[in-house]
């Protein structure tokens, strides 16, 4: 049997060059590889663990829509290093304590405390088993936080889902399953789930995207970790079974029909699907913080994809390790050695414990009811050796394991976007008042925009008592906030704000605009909440189809370039990330793929939570200002979705303008001039003002004729101003006595007074010609906004 057929048979996601490299290595050793060694290499070199595409050499060709080459070819020697990492390296900010090297990124909260942040994807498992996939996705990212430095205390969770349309039964089932998975894991662990989003698109019907994030708090001294030769390797937490076996290689390949459970050693198993046990992880989290503060271990990492092979392989990467699997606590027996070594059973962590502390460490874990076992020791041998039942089943040079994988060379092709013609800009749009009013209500009730309260109310977002700005607040309890804010240290007024940006609809038209828009949206959301925003850090999560397809890799490359441009343009570094590729499925002979998506999570450090500003209106009589310029950018907008026709250009981010506007908003916040602030994103100005009305129970009057705008086809101005999704725009409420100060402060940036808050709970919109355009009462707005809740439940 050839190596490739072996690879296919065992599900190793390795290509021919990689298999040849492995063949040559074992030829030089004068022996055949064992099953455990092949599985170890397949896991470590998988796309999931090794990020071979994003770390590969990419040759990007720009072509016109007819396929002709249009510009020079750009070669990225290492796509991630030359885009996302590069921006962070060039910004070189001292408050970034740990970036792209540990299980999570860490930024400084103050001199003594840091905030660890990580966002993971769990798409493939969630496609097969939504509840288990999402719950273990959250469980896994919580362990990333526990395994960051010497362990951070998890203080909040986040979730973002991309699923098929809600009218589709399968998609509804996936959504309810993933929501329940996150709910049960987060609530049972006592970690508040404070922030998230849900996006709907037909191309997520077969392959949903599930992003789970976690924030943790750790002291500065615990950021660095390092094992030493002689340290004892301990495994603690859950027992090892057959669940999740081969997860990393599985998630590095396409989904195919007929993925099913098997019978291994007489036990009917879920194969690649994992099921979580939050109570076990809660006990592990509790004991870890105590053991960390007593300095009972020198290193820790979580067992994620690849199980012990990946955790111990990474921990001892620069030294060496000898492991005895007989000591590992099993759920059932018998299990083969390679199965124990590769199992992805949940809730397990690996510790490097100094011999002098081993007894105290074991006593402490026993006292907390956490099972633990000594499974080996760290050596200075440069080799990873694994024994089971007195047989050596792995003996690999760690240099080969971690640096032996041949670099991938890939071709990418990007189609240059042309400026849209005047014809496209003048695509017929609704003009009549009745039609515009109906469109507003339809956009409000569309799946992407409508209320997600039925999801958020299932999550405990207040446990631990740190959440000071909750996902829904305001006098009606239903104001969807742009960002959620935590107070991590009860004795101080520091805050941590979390927000997301994601624009999958845009990806179909322009991957660069999609990524740039996601990044700016996340940052905008942070700026809305005020609180003296001091630092902003970003996390990237790329999801795409098959990167071997040049057009898909072209989209990924353009999205990565947008990350670099955005991070440099705004001055905010990326600190951590994760990509998930091969999000494809073969169904009834057809290849299905998701659109290329980037989720950007933004974390802001606030100096004073007493200065927070929420999004709902505060007082009748206050004035409304619109900051930022509105352009004819309806492409991929919610308005376009409702109309069902191509509306042309997608919103573009102009980084210089964006920076100036964000700066202007920050200054206004710092001078306490704003009473409410909401960014304009999905659904544009129409949705933003409607949400502010819904959140406050107060009404508003809006005059479209006063909105700062340019390049809009005059005939359709009213519709475009209400529904354009141009970036870098905010709607703010200002007290009349602060208006002069604000106008003075904002000299040089585009802004205008566009309306006022009123006591009567009605949204009134006056058109550009001066005639009344829309008048909708609060109850009707609320009914539209909550219409899709019933369908999704």
């Amino acid at each position: 049997m050839t190596l490739t057929s072996h690879g296919r048979r065992h599900g190793w996601a390795l290509n021919v060059a990689e298999l040849r490299r492995i063949d040559a290595y074992f030829a030089s050793q004068g022996r055949e590889p064992t099953r455990a060694e092949m599985e170890t290499l397949a896991q470590t070199w998988s796309e999931h663990c090794g990020h071979k595409t994003m770390r590969g050499e990419v040759r990007l060709e720009n072509v016109s829509k007819d396929g002709a080459r249009t510009g020079r070819v750009r070669v990225y020697r290492d796509l991630l290093k030359e885009t996302v990492f590069r921006a962070t390296r060039e910004l070189n900010l001292p408050w970034c304590w740990s970036v792209f090297k540990d299980n999570a990124g860490v930024v400084a909260l103050d001199d003594r405390w840091g905030i660890a942040v990580k966002v993971e994807t769990h798409n493939h498992p969630s496609a097969l088993e939504p509840y288990g996939g999402a719950s273990t996705g959250l469980g896994g990212v919580i362990r990333d936080i526990l395994g960051c430095g010497l362990g951070a205390e998890p203080i909040a969770g986040t979730d973002v889902f991309c699923v098929g349309p809600p009218e589709d039964f399968r998609s509804r089932r996936i959504l309810t399953g993933v929501v329940e998975g996150v709910r049960d894991y987060g609530n049972r662990m006592g970690i508040p789930t404070i922030s998230g989003a849900v996006c709907f698109h037909p191309r997520f019907r077969r392959i949903p995207l599930v992003f789970c994030g976690c924030l943790g708090l750790l002291p500065r001294w615990a950021v660095e970790k390092k094992v030493r030769p002689g340290d004892i390797l301990m495994v603690a937490g859950g027992r090892t079974g057959l669940d999740g076996l081969g997860g990393a290689t599985f998630s590095s390949a396409s989904l195919t029909e007929g993925v099913s459970q098997g019978t291994l050693n007489g036990v009917r198993s879920s194969g690649v699907v994992q099921i979580g046990h939050p109570v076990v992880e809660k006990k592990l989290a509790d004991v870890m913080v105590v053991a960390r503060d007593r300095r009972l271990y020198r290193c820790v990492t979580d067992c994620g994809a690849g199980g012990l092979s990946s955790a111990i392989g990474e921990m001892a990467a620069s030294l060496g390790a000898r492991v005895r699997l007989d000591a590992v606590k099993l759920k059932y027996s018998p299990m083969e050695g390679w199965q124990i070594w590769l199992s992805e059973s949940q809730e397990r962590m690996v510790f490097g414990v100094p011999p002098a502390c081993a007894g105290a460490w074991e006593d402490l874990f026993r006292a907390y009811g956490v099972e633990a076992a000594r499974v080996g020791e760290v050596l200075d041998s440069g080799r990873l050796q694994v024994f089971y039942q007195q047989e050596k089943i792995v003996d690999l040079a760690l240099s080969f394991l971690h640096a032996g994988c041949p670099k991938r060379r890939l071709r990418a092709r990007a189609t240059a976007e042309k400026e849209p013609s005047l014809e496209l800009l003048s695509v017929p749009l609704p003009k009549k008042s009745r039609r515009i009013r109906r469109t507003l209500l339809e956009v409000l009730s569309s799946p992407d925009v409508s209320s997600k309260e039925w999801i958020l109310r299932q999550y405990d977002h207040e446990v631990q008592g740190r959440t000071v700005l909750k996902p829904f607040s305001g006098p009606t309890g239903g104001a969807p906030q742009d960002a959620s804010v935590l107070r991590p240290l009860p004795e101080k007024f520091f805050g941590v704000a979390v927000a997301q940006g994601i624009r999958p609809r845009c990806a179909v038209k322009d991957a660069y605009a999609m990524a740039a828009g996601a990044l700016e949206e996340a940052v905008r959301n942070l700026h809305c909440v005020g609180g003296r925003l001091r630092r902003v850090a970003l996390l990237d999560n790329f999801c795409a189809g098959d990167p071997e397809v040049p057009e898909i890799l072209g989209e990924l490359t353009r999205a990565s370039q947008a990350c670099y441009d955005g991070a440099r343009g705004l001055g905010y570094p990326f600190i951590s990330g994760k990509d998930s590729l091969h999000n494809t499925a073969r169904v009834k002979g057809k290849d299905l793929s998701i659109p290329t998506v980037l989720l950007v999570t933004a974390v802001g450090i606030l100096s004073d939570i007493r200065k927070l500003v929420s999004m709902e209106f505060k007082r009748a009589g206050n004035w409304l200002y619109l900051l930022g310029m509105t352009l004819q950018e309806l492409g991929s907008s919610q308005g376009e979705g409702v109309l069902g026709k191509d509306c042309g250009r997608v919103p573009a981010v102009r980084w210089k303008d964006s920076r100036r506007i964000l700066q202007a908003l920050r200054e206004a916040q710092n001078h306490d001039l704003l009473r409410a602030c909401h960014d304009l994103s999905d659904g544009g100005l129409g949705v933003a003002i409607a949400e502010m009305v819904l959140g406050s129970g107060k009404g508003a009057h809006l005059d479209l004729g006063k909105v700062p705008r340019m390049g809009i086809y005059r005939e359709y101005e009213d519709f475009v101003i209400l529904f354009s999704e141009s970036h870098s725009r905010f709607l703010v409420e200002v007290s009349p006595r602060d208006a002069a100060g604000l106008e003075d402060l904002w000299r040089g940036v585009p802004f205008r007074r566009v309306g006022r808050v009123q006591e009567e709970p009605v949204l009134e919109v006056k058109g550009t010609t001066g005639i009344p355009l829309v008048r909708v009462g609060l109850p009707e707005l609320g009914r539209a906004w909550r219409r899709s809740e019933g369908a999704n439940k």
Partner: protein, 162 residues
């Protein structure tokens, strides 16, 4: 409570709401299944199942059901097998496959130890669905096809129909 206490090493405790109106999960499934079965599906009721393996006296079994598994205010418990189906009713039982982690089952086992009951080897959890139809029960093939797509994920669970 039925007098069907098994003296073998394994027994099943069934726990359900005292009133059908309190069974929120059942109502949700009724809404979801109405798409397939139409208005003839009158009601769905759900019950938690706990299969407990170990040598336990009758008094211990009663104690487990009363003190641990059942909320006496809102729930009833019973022991035993699937009831004989009444006219117009179908019972579907869903259990985890043997090798799949059963977090609730493990927690129950730990709680039993906390209660001082150490002779339990294993606890597995499942769910029973009672579907009540207005007149005739749909053909078995249709029932099996719809329920296997909706009530469980065959990757991690199996089900039986009665």
């Amino acid at each position: 409570m039925k007098n069907a206490l098994s003296q073998t090493g394994s027994f099943v405790v069934e726990v359900g709401s005292k009133k059908a109106g309190w069974d929120a999960l059942g109502k949700r499934w009724a809404r979801a299944l109405e798409e397939s079965f139409g208005p003839s599906l009158r009601q769905v009721r759900t019950f938690h199942l706990y299969r407990i393996e170990g040598d336990l006296s009758q008094a211990e079994r009663l104690r487990i059901a009363r003190e641990l598994l059942c909320d006496p205010i809102s729930e009833n418990y019973s022991f035993g097998e699937v009831p004989s189906p009444l006219r117009g009713r179908v019972y579907a039982e869903v259990w985890f496959l043997g090798g799949v982690t059963d977090a609730v089952g493990e927690s129950v086992q730990e709680a039993l130890a906390d209660m001082g009951i150490f002779s339990v080897d294993r606890v597995r959890t499942g769910r029973r669905y009672e579907l009540c139809f207005a007149d005739r029960v749909p053909p078995r093939r249709k029932l099996r096809s719809v329920l296997s797509r909706t009530l469980l994920n065959p990757l991690i669970q199996y089900f039986s129909l009665k």
